[in-house]
């Protein structure tokens, strides 16, 4: 997100006046662990993509490959790592 606004710039009442702007809220900085995929082990089953509660698993649908994560929005919940049938995802502590 761009630089946080000062109070004078805000819409009164905290009303959100644009539709479909959830993407602008970078929830990635809530994360304490980041998922990391080992493509050697990955079988491209897309389970992680289906289970991710934040739509943060990136896939190339045309090629049928899981390609990585959207770290701007991934909250680090670890569901993908836990669901992966081939243990291809490790959760690495941030920092």
């Amino acid at each position: 997100m761009s630089k946080p606004k000062g109070w004078k710039e805000l819409v009164p009442g905290g009303i959100i006046t644009e539709a479909g702007n959830a993407r602008d809220y970078k929830t990635g900085d809530w994360r304490t662990e980041r998922p990391q995929v080992n493509k050697e082990k990955c079988i491209n089953c897309f389970f992680c993509w289906a289970y991710c509660p934040d739509g943060s698993v990136k896939v190339d649908a045309d090629k049928g490959v899981m390609v990585g994560f959207d770290y701007d929005h991934c909250k680090g919940c670890g569901i993908c790592a836990s669901i992966c049938p081939s243990k291809a995802i490790d959760m690495i502590p941030e920092r």
């Binding site: 946080p4 606004k5 000062g6 109070w7 004078k8 805000l10 819409v11 009164p12 009442g13 905290g14 009303i15 959100i16 006046t17 539709a19």
Partner: protein, 398 residues
Amino acid sequence: MAINLKARVMGLNGNAAVAYAMKQINPDVVAAYPITPQTDCVERFAEYVSEGLVKTEFVTVESEHSAMSACIGAAAAGGRVMTATAANGLALMWEVLYIAASMRLPIVMMVTNRALSGNINIHCDHSDTMGARDSGWIQLFSENAQEAYDNIIQAVKIAEDLNVRLPVMVTQDGFIISHAVERVEVLDDEVVQNFVGPYKPVYPLLDLSHPVTYGPLDLFDYYFEHKRSQIEAIDNSFPVIKKVAEEFEKISGRSYGFLESYKLDDAEYAVIALGSTCGTAKEAVNALREKGKKVGLLKIRCFRPFPKAEIIKALAPLKGVAVLDRSVSFGGFGGPVFTEVRSALYDAPSHPLIINFFYGLGGRDIYPEDIIKALEKIENVVQKGKVEEHIGYLGLRE
């Protein structure tokens, strides 16, 4: 108050006066739940609805929490919304009162002041509205049925002003005002309609081509900024309350300020009060004036926002002030009015000695003699030159 011979006069109690004003305002939505001593107001308004005299959507709900929640929904949808409650009903609205103010929804609510339980009591004190004083609502107190009628009409215009956009609470003392029939000068329907004007919704949810979100998650990154802008909004209401009162005077001949000074010009001692007690205090002031005592009354009409500059101006020249509180802040340093007035005077160029009296809890009557006692006490304190006891009680058995 000058008597306007051309005015239309009705015999109305406070509840009926407010219901009549609501009929003339003709809001889009009223969601309310009955509670003594407000019931009479909502009942009368429901009659106007069933007789087809208003176009209001009247929402019957199962509690006051739901009443205020329905008001919030209707106001966010883009309607002009009103309601009324009292005492525990207001207490049950607590969490949603804050939400109405935070979302900057211009809901207007009449509160018939009644003591909070326990024990169960249906009579007047100010514990209900004083408890809600930090919720972000503007609060206007009324001395009689006429003022309740006038305040509710002005409240609509104050709430909806684009520089304010905040909910407004108009109070009247339970039973003392709400159930006593008085002479009330009413305006013509058309005059009221022109005064409040057509409602201009801001970010209405029902504007489907401009979808908006009300009440999203607001954490440590923005909540503070939103509160700051809420502080600004209620501060902005000062000039608006003044302007609306001036416009109201043009249509009614009745003038309103944040405060009303009664015989304060040359006074040395004064009492401060809110609501119907001010009428009693005027009697007490007159009685003492006849004996040559230089005493007066400062009535607070607008408690939120708190008119500190005007309070300093009115009180700084005095020698002594007795603040009357009709509610308790348990464990606090005096009642809510005392705390606030005393704090405002701290930076005044000169200040009077100031003492506090609790009175009238649970509807205990207050008499002119009680107020005379308070004025004599403060005179005594001033003669001694210092306050030995800040807190006293009027009308309490030892």
